[in-house]
Symmetry: C2
Subunit: 237 residues, 2 copies
């Protein structure tokens, strides 16, 4: 009988993300090119020497904890969204957060490393990470071993290449312009790309209703009209 000690892991960083809530987060990284955030390294791991040479890589692995799932617990089987919530598979055949040890991996684009008075930050883009996610490791993405383009993807279909059309009310468009001017964040593109992936659960895709979605520090109100999404208003959280 094999017995392992329990291992204690400590977060080495925390994610500051454009996604303060689960709703709206793309199902996989790389789908929403305008999504971005920062990885703040926590003491005692916030020493510049520990990321020396990392800027030579275009992409990095972030290993993290699905911290919101910890309280909810793990499940042996589940119905993944890409099967329309119908078919049941084992948790190890899924990328669900509700998994033993609650560990996630995500490849993101590394766009910069900034040393500031308040800390050491990795600038990251094309992310699918929730705000305040605890990070437990950072690794360079090494294409010759990590990239297996010929791997067969089982039952997980690639994302739909046809994205939804997204239109804005005048007020919503104006808000985006002002916000981008004030913060430098490309809010309008982020909304277009995030809604373009259709964040609604499959079970709600035939309903007509209004949704609220948090992005950065604002709340976006929108409605689905068939295949077309209308952004009604945007305001402070």
């Amino acid at each position: 009988m094999i017995e392992f000690p329990p291992y204690v892991i400590s977060p080495i960083g925390i994610i500051h993300s454009c996604y303060p809530e689960k709703f709206g987060i793309p199902r996989q990284p790389g789908l929403v090119t305008s999504s971005s955030g920062r990885l703040e390294l926590l003491p005692p791991w916030n020493r510049e020497e520990m990321v020396k040479g990392l800027d030579a890589f275009s992409h990095i692995w972030i290993q993290f904890l699905f911290h919101e799932a910890v309280a909810e617990g793990w499940r042996p089987t589940l119905r993944p969204p890409w099967l329309g919530g119908q078919k049941r598979v084992g948790v190890f055949a899924s990328r669900s957060p509700h998994r033993p040890n609650f560990l996630g991996i995500s490849v993101v684009r590394l766009t910069g490393i900034r040393k500031e008075k308040k800390g050491l930050f990795l600038e990251i883009a094309e992310i699918d990470l929730l705000d305040k996610t605890p990070v437990v490791d950072i690794k360079p993405y090494v294409p010759y071993s990590d990239s297996v383009p010929t791997a067969s993807g089982g039952f997980i279909p690639p994302p739909e290449s046809v994205t939804r059309e997204v239109v804005f009310t005048k007020a919503a468009a104006q808000y985006c312009g002002d916000y981008e001017h004030r913060t430098g964040r490309r809010l309008r593109l982020l909304i277009v790309e995030t809604l373009g992936q259709d964040p609604r659960p499959a079970s709600q895709r035939h309903q007509v209703r209004e949704y609220g979605m948090a992005l950065w520090d604002v709340n976006v109100r929108w409605q689905a009209h068939g295949e077309r999404f209308l952004v009604l208003s945007i305001g402070e959280e």
Copy 2:
């Protein structure tokens, strides 16, 4: 100031690998196609339902602990082997085992799932995992998000495409034949591919000396003669 609780993680499986020692392990998975092993699921995670649907994937991620590095501790910077042990980089810019939290990820080929009396096993190949490695998660490899062939690989060069020539003494060749007949393990190919990657540290590549290398349950004695390796003898461990 952000404060996280320490998280406790428990191994959900253990690796049984052709590599009982670090020496000989390829630097990345996928380099030695004849390397193989089994991932044994541990109770209470050894239920067939937990891997239901996983057999639809050709490749899986194994998240594991670099258990031998835990006692040795982590280092903020190190000199990775692909830079000839010369240049110093940060640990987060490396795939070194001596990292905070000691977490590793590896993509391997999934060749089967076996339910046996003594447990539930995933058959895996093209591995770079040490025997007895504790596994903390299993995930399907999803090419459309995990495969980024255009990622720039920084200072990590792809492995040498010219592999070393490997020749066998008569006795060593005979041993391989008998061993393969008895166990079904392709020992000769494993030796050829493993030595072909030149497992010697860069600092020893100009020395003439004899090496011992453990593969499965046997010990392989070999010598380097310039670019050519001679397998002298093979015996029980």
